[in-house]
Structures are given as C-alpha cells and as structure tokens.
Symmetry: C3
C-alpha cells in the first residue's frame, strides 16, 4: 500500500548525519548498519561535545542498552538540544522491565525530551505503558498482549510514534496502526538487531518533521527486507550478520517498494 522506495532514495541523496548515544555492545553494528544504508553515523557522548554534535545531526538515536549515570546525562543534554532544535529523537528502551533503573530511565527520557519515535520489543513497550509483561534481560518473553494495541497505547501515552517489533512489527501514531510483515527469524539470533532497527528508524526520520508514522514503518520494512535478502544463502547467525550489511547496501528503492509489506492494521 505504501511505497518506501522514495524515502530510501532521498536518504541516500541527503546522507544525513545520525548522532547515536547507544550501548557498548552494538556501537559497531549500528554504525555499520547506518553506513550500509547510506547515512552517516557518529557516536559522541562527552558533555563537552554532545550538544554541538547533535546540532549537526539530522536525527538523534538514544539507546539505554548499557546505561550508566554519565551516559544518561549525555542523553538528556543531547536530547534537550535536539528537542529545542526540532531534531527527531528515536529512543530504544533496551531492557525496560528487566530492572527498575532501565524502566525509570526510559520514563525519564520520555518525560523530559520530545521523543519522535519509540522502538522496542513487546515486553519493553508493555512495561512502559504499564501492562504486565515478562522481560528476561533484554528479551521479551511474552505476556504483553496484542502488539497492535500496545503500539497504539504507547503512541497515545507518550505522544509519539511507537514501534513494537517482533515476528510482525506494529507502528502507530496513536490513531492509525501499520503492520510491517518483513523480517526473518535469524534476526533474533544476532545481538543488536533490535538496536539496528532503531538506528535505521533514526536514518529514515532524519531531517523530517512530517509523516513520522510512515517513515518509522518504512525503516522497519527496509530493515526487514534486507534481513530476508541476507537470510537467503546464510549458513547461520554469523554469516547472516555479515550478509545483512551487504543487503542493506544493496537495497534498491524499486525493489524495496515491491518487497515491503506495510499494511494498515
């Protein structure tokens, strides 16, 4: 129904800078996903430079996967500047629900910043909207209810676009819900693929102030199509992981428009 090919084409022409304050585990992975897709990643967290750096960026990606006090401070400082500038912010509440610190930090970032899009698994998002869910470490184990309704509830609660990813992804702005039925089960066997989908959401939102629902859905479709392409011929999670960057770089706007499975839900 919706054709994400044009967004990808525009992204590759603009090559936006995507400032990422993210976790130690996936920094290389999200940088490489950003670069392979066609945008420019930069990681910076020092109080001396985060505000200046985000001023240069088309989007800010915040990810609490290995959070600590100074990093949260950096997220807040960069996020306040981005909020003031109207720069889109994407938040990944990694492990919300596993510990109080992660849940509270996610809520604090949502409360103090103008977050444009929130991307998490069902357990993380359910925790943030107050639904009972099971999160084991950083994995959603179940019990979070209907993911389409969860996306809508989160979008309404926090006034943003919410993406609940899983076997099928659901993206909502509080009114509409789009489903994205791209992806591959090997994504669940590689650490950081959720974080990559958040970074790619940042790439698609970069420099935009309109249509964040569609941009967020397109990002997940692009990542999912790349995963499908990468899985063909992969021997397992390791070779799939390497081929995922190949597939992101090889994504053609026309082919993406054809393979994307975005539907109103």
């Amino acid at each position: 129904m919706i054709a994400p090919g044009e967004s990808l084409r525009a992204l590759r022409e603009a090559r936006p800078l995507v400032h990422q304050i993210t976790n130690y585990v996936v920094m290389n992975e999200t940088a490489n996903a950003t670069l392979a897709l066609g945008a420019l990643p930069v990681m910076a967290h020092a109080p001396e430079e985060v505000e200046e750096m985000v001023g240069l960026a088309g989007a800010l990606v915040l990810n609490i996967g290995t959070l600590s006090e100074h990093w949260v401070d950096a997220m807040l400082a960069a996020g306040r500047r981005a909020s003031a500038n109207g720069t889109p912010i994407v938040l990944d509440p990694v492990g919300a629900g596993a510990t109080r610190y992660r849940t509270e930090t996610s809520r604090r970032l949502l409360g103090e910043l103008e977050v444009t899009a929130l991307r998490g698994n069902a357990g993380e998002i359910a925790t943030l909207v107050g639904v009972e869910a099971e999160v084991r470490g950083v994995e959603s184990i179940g019990g979070a209810g209907d993911p389409a309704e969860l996306a809508r509830a989160a979008a309404r609660s926090f006034g943003l676009v919410a993406s609940v990813t899983g076997p099928v992804d659901f993206v909502s702005d509080g009114e509409r819900v789009l489903s994205v039925a791209n992806g591959h089960e090997l994504l669940a066997a590689v650490s950081g693929t959720g974080c990559m989908s958040t970074a790619i959401t940042g790439c698609f939102l970069a420099g935009k102030r309109e249509a964040p629902l569609q941009a967020a859905a397109e990002a997940l479709a692009a990542f999912g199509v790349a995963a499908e392409d990468a899985a063909a011929g992969a021997g397992g999670p390791g070779t799939f992981h390497a081929r995922l960057y190949d597939a992101l770089a090889a994504l053609e706007p026309d082919a993406l428009a054809e393979q994307a499975r975005i539907e109103p839900s």
Copy 2:
C-alpha cells in the same frame, strides 16, 4: 568418556540469562556467542542495577579485559550478590601478569567472591598461582609449565574449577583433571575467542550448583567443536569468526557428544 550433548540440550530448553560484566573489545562477540549457543546474554554494569540484574541471571561472567575502577566496583557488587544467591560466577582474568593492576584485581575478585570457575590462558593462570610466566599484553607467551598441573594448582589455591586453555585445554577441580582436545588454531587469530570460551562456560554453568568440573569441560568441548566446524571452509580469521556463530547455533547435542574429546588427564 563424558557426553556433553545432554547439557547442551538442557541449556537450550532453559535459555538461561547470563549476566556479563566484560570488556569493551568483546561485548558484541560474547553476546553473540551466548545467543548463538542458545542462552540469553545481558550486559549491565551500573551500580543502580547490577544487583537486580544478577538476581535474574543463571550465571555471572566477569572479565577484566578493559578494567577500570567503576567497572571493578560493579563486578564486586554483582559478584557479592551472586555469591549470596549461590549463582555461579565465572572469572576471566584477562591480562593478569601483564600489569600489577590486572593481577591484583584478579586476586581481589577471587578473594572477595565465591568464584565457581576461573578461565584463562596459561600465563594468566600461572601468574595468579605465583608461577613465573610471560604474558605479552593479553597473550600467554610461554614458560608457565605443565598446564594440567597448573589447572590443578589453581583449582586448589582458589577452591574452584580452573580452566587453562591452549592448544589442548585442561580443567580441574583440584583433584581430577580433564583434558579437552577440541579447537582450532584459527581461534588464536581472532580477538576475544578466549572471552567467548569464558562466556560459554557461564552458559553451561548457569543455574547449576553441581558438577561444575564437567560443565566447564563440556563448555570448552562445545566451543572447540564449533571452532572445528567453523574452520572447515573458512578463508582466514574473518570468515572463520562469522562461521563460528553459525557453528555454535548449529551444534547438535548428538554430534557434540560424538565429537567432544574430553578425557581424564
């Protein structure tokens, strides 16, 4: 002699959470090895959450590869809680012997925590038991003596299971010594494979309070068999590295039982 296939089968059913406080260089690698094997990794080091996180975990893996004061504090806090809970702790004393700080921190962690298993190369373990050895950075260069005896001596000194890895690995509980003759020389050409073997030791020990000697040996056999499988068809350390995750994910309990070369030493 011993069949590790059942342990792997049980691990994949339980999917234990393995909390890792490890070094910046290998976080992605140990997370992916843990996930490929079938357990769930989580990295968390903030004082606000380490105790809560380790309370959810089946094992705690500590690795001093890029240590600093706050990270050592986090290891101690998480380790004390794990010790109190009876949660198995696995320690990787990366670079012990290279600098006093690494040697002393390793000894401190061994002294203050109930460490279940210690996994290192010959130089690192020799340093900790007071045998003269040469460690160049984080590599063991030689002179550490008979590795089977070294494993036994370390196990006795510290009251734990000691794994001394190398071309052949030796694992001891202070009485018995098992040799594990699996692995491949390409492991030495990839950064962090020692750290991965430590993480996998954590996976096999997760949730267990009995038979840590066997579990530690099985972990090394599983990792070694995966390395053998990965090496077949690899073009060098980079493609071997990618294929190593494929091989960990593809490990079949029955095939593992057949390929594992664990013997009393």
Copy 3:
C-alpha cells in the same frame, strides 16, 4: 619503488605489542586487524595501568573517536610515558573539525606528546593545520585542498609523519611526500576502516625509531592491498569486512612488495 614486504616479514617475526587507547566503536575491529596482520593488540585505559602497559608495548595508538575526559587523561598519561621512552605514538584525530572538543583535544595531544605519526582523512587533517574543510561527524566531505600538500603542511606544522587517507593516500615527513594508490571503495562503506589503518600504522612503526615515513606508507599499502584482495568476491560491506581480516592474515611479503603502489609524489 619501495618494497614493504621486508617490513611485514620483520613485524610477523617480532610480534610487537601494540597498545591502543581507542574508541568504543572500533575496538574489536582494530584488535582483529592487528592480530590478523601478525602483531599483538592490547587495550588498556585505566590510570592504574596505562603507563605500565605502554612500557611493554612497541607502539602506542591513540584514537579520539569516542573521547571523554578520563579517556583523554589516559591518552596523555600513556603518551607521556611513551614519549619519554621513545616509543612511537600514532594519533587518529577522529572527527577533528566536527566539534571544538575534538579539534582542541587533537591539538592538545599533538602539543604535549611526541607523536610520531598522525593519520586522518583530509577534513580532519585540514582542520588541524588551519585549512577550511567540511567534516560531517567523522567523515570528510570536501574542500580540504590538495591532499599531498596537506600531508606536507601537517608534517611540517607538527614535526611528524602525516598520513592523509582517501581514494589515494599521501604520506609526508614535511619534505618528501609519498602517494599510496592501494585500497578499495568498499573501505568507505565499513565503519572503522580509517581507525584500522591507524592501528596498522602503529604495527608497522612498532619498535622502530627510524624511517617512519616509509613505515607509515608501507602500512597503508599493506592495508590497501588487503582491501583489494578482500573486495574480490565480496558481496558488499559486510562480507568485505569479514574477508578483510582473511586478507590481512594472508598477506605474503613477496606479493605485498609486488602489489604495493607507493610512489614519490
């Protein structure tokens, strides 16, 4: 004209320890590049051990890609010891020009330490010598002028060997300028390849006090030849990245001497 095969042969025999204080994004990558080439990497940044560790090393690599106050302090402490010992220091001013903090920190390190070689892209190096240039995050976008002259100007300004990398690399000691016409465009699609070339410069300079111009050029030729080899058969940036380590490990001194395209400029 110049044959780098002998340097590679000597490096593999000596297996120097290369101490790297680098950024979170690329630590695994530069460790693996160092190891694949034949040297031994070690990452250490704690004030308790940096001076002791650098005392064991053949070279010190400093990289400000994710700098913060304590890491800069560690670079200064290690760098002062290296300067006092005559240990070669290689500096990578990642993102100089993007923020004041990066520009000023680069200048401070250059001012306080005896840096042997500086490796950056045109935008970063231009910023440091005071030429107008555009740096988007950590990428050079253009406007930095003739890269051969830029290398010469940087070498003269700071009294060191300067390497300006790009489609063709230029290396200068302030008098002579060498061009290195090896490499592949896929290098620009993988995060951290610039940082890897800096680490490899450290490997080639390790333990040497003479001919740093030639060693720095040889390092870039070796990395470029490996990239050319890796690109053959790669399906995109991800498989290229894995094959790059294969190619570094497979580099033969004689083949390198033949494939290296180092010329006086």
